[in-house]
Amino acid sequence: MTRVVRDPSRPVATLELVCPAGTPAALRTAVDAGAHTVYCGFRDETNARNFPGLNFNRQELKDGVAYAHDHGADVLVAINTFPAAGNLDPWHRAIDDAAEMGADAAILADIGLVEYALKTHKTLRRHLSVQAAASTPEGVNFYAREFGIHRVVLPRVLTLPEIKELNRHTEVETEVFVFGGLCVMAEGRCSLSSYVTGKSPNKNGVCSPASHTEYTEHGSGLDSKLGGFTINRFAEGEPAGYPTLCKGRFSANDKLSYLFEEPTSLNLLTMLPEVADAGVTALKIEGRQRGKAYVEKVVKAFRAAVDALERGETLDAAAIADLTEGGRETAGAYKKAWH
């Protein structure tokens, strides 16, 4: 399948770097830092990062698209929550407006919505969101055959050999997460947040929302809580992490541990050659909730890495060190040992 680009004269990158734009300012920062593509969402429940202070109103998106296009970058609009029964209009309108404003693709999760996009805006590229949980060639090919999807964002539950195998059996472009937050559950198939807070990624576009967090003193340390449940405990002076539900310490089988996942983040910077070899089209950086400084640093590092890879050069060790400093990181499910 040929990639449909906005400007056919513009060269297509070997690996397309897809970068987060939580705000208009972050969009410009990402584009300036070398993003081939940015992704963003409207300021409502239609997108899976529905946080206060984030996202775009209609005019901001229009301006953002103009800025990106002027600088040779594409804009993807995430409309990737599941429309509420009996109230499909806001989601349909989001697709209509994204198409109208010249977005290069819509990122969609709901089957009915993908069908709506196909029927209503045939020329708007359709990307299947990670929230759609298409983890197999058969699942991906279903969406390709029935709804002509151009690209799928793969769940972070697959190993690199599994991704390579999937790419052998589909014509659909694949996009994989390479940096940022790491979901340990199959994305789009997790109701843990709504179980504890009433708000879910699928329905409301939020996971472990800040409105339900609290930090309480425990002895000389601090407990981080979500919905009244202690997610983690920190000693005096230790930096207290955000209480993401599945990244806490829990007790099971009489053992206290990070049962689901340690509070690590994903980083595949040093694995890009293997990622490229697996046949993926695009690399996704997570973090629409992140500030401009973060976006600039990560996008620059990955763009340098992608360019180096394209020139057949090895990665600059200093750039890697700069990006990984301090954080706890993992290659997640991409490496089999994680399971």
């Binding site: 509420a84 279903f142 806490g248």
Partner: protein, 304 residues
């Protein structure tokens, strides 16, 4: 669709989500065949493909016994398919044209294209648009996701697109992963798990640091600690046109629970009596119905 009739409403026993021995499984299904007026029984392994080979020899006799007792048999399928081997196993399974299947993944739904089948609660169906697309593919029944509110369930039922079933009893499946948390809790890897999930017939309780029960783990599946019980909401669900009610198997007197639910449906049992019986019954866990009211799923809200 209009209001569902309490007389014709159907009771479904969902797929056993836990890793029980074949003897224990057989005993439950035979009792269900002999001692309940459950209409439909869902068989099959939903959670982990490593459990499947043990169950395969059991299914023919269970299907025979249930069918002989006049029960409809539904065969369910895996929720998260990760390998081509697992996909082939699904393809082999659904090649049996005599069975009515439940799809929990879009790939399996696609294999059933053009055939009557149902949609399981692990598929993301939140609205009538998606329901219509799946109906066009051959689905004629859905057990809605546990996260769906009563109001949304009502919209799906009122659309008349397909028969709607609600999950009314049992620990709720909340998430599925490639990783096995049962194995991790026992310092094992998934590949060499020693099937430790068979140690917890209702799931392994997960407590917070301060000892508060939080969740339950069932292999690669994460479940609610609380036990969903929508007994008090059954009249409202019937009113909305929901015509099927699913109870999920647990290591309790499921025959007794099923009979109480039948009583609630027909109006001969007070929901309060059923709620009282199940409160604390499974590992001391309380009832919950929060998702129905679009609030925290772990909560129990008294109907106004």
């Amino acid at each position: 669709m209009t209001k569902a009739s309490a007389k014709t409403a159907k009771l479904t026993l969902g797929p056993l989500l836990f890793n029980w021995s074949n003897d224990k499984r057989r005993d439950m299904y035979f009792r269900v065949a002999d001692e309940t007026d459950i209409d439909t029984v869902v068989l099959g392994e939903v959670v982990c493909s490593k459990r499947t080979p043990f169950q395969t020899p059991l299914w023919p006799e269970v299907i025979d016994r249930l069918t002989a007792a006049g029960k409809e048999v539904v065969f369910s399928t895996q929720a998260l398919i990760l390998s081509s081997r697992e996909m082939s196993a699904m393809r082999d399974l659904v090649s049996d044209e005599t069975l009515y299947f439940e799809a929990n993944d879009i790939a399996v739904d696609d294999m059933l294209k053009g055939r009557r089948h149902m949609i399981g609660p692990m598929m993301n169906v939140y609205n009538e648009g998606t329901l219509a697309t799946l109906a066009a593919n051959g689905a004629d029944r859905i057990c809605v996701p546990v996260e769906l509110s009563g109001a949304a369930t009502g919209v799906l039922a009122a659309s008349g697109i397909m028969e709607v079933e609600a999950f009314v009893f049992g620990r709720m499946p909340l998430a599925i992963a490639a990783r096995c948390y049962h194995a991790r809790a026992h310092n094992l890897a998934k590949d060499t798990c020693k099937y430790v999930c068979n140690l917890d017939a209702d799931g392994m309780t997960v407590d917070t640091l301060d000892g508060k029960p939080f969740l339950a783990v069932n292999g690669t599946q994460t479940m609610s600690y609380t036990v969903a019980n929508l007994a008090a909401e059954i009249p409202a669900l019937l009113e909305m046109g929901v015509s099927r009610f699913r109870i999920s198997p647990h290591d309790v007197d499921i025959v007794h629970i099923a009979n109480l639910f039948r009583g609630v449906i027909t109006g001969t049992t007070d929901p309060a009596e059923l709620l009282n019986e199940t409160d604390g019954l499974i590992d001391g866990a309380p009832n919950s119905n929060g998702f129905f009211y679009d609030v925290e799923g772990l909560k129990y809200k008294t109907a106004e």
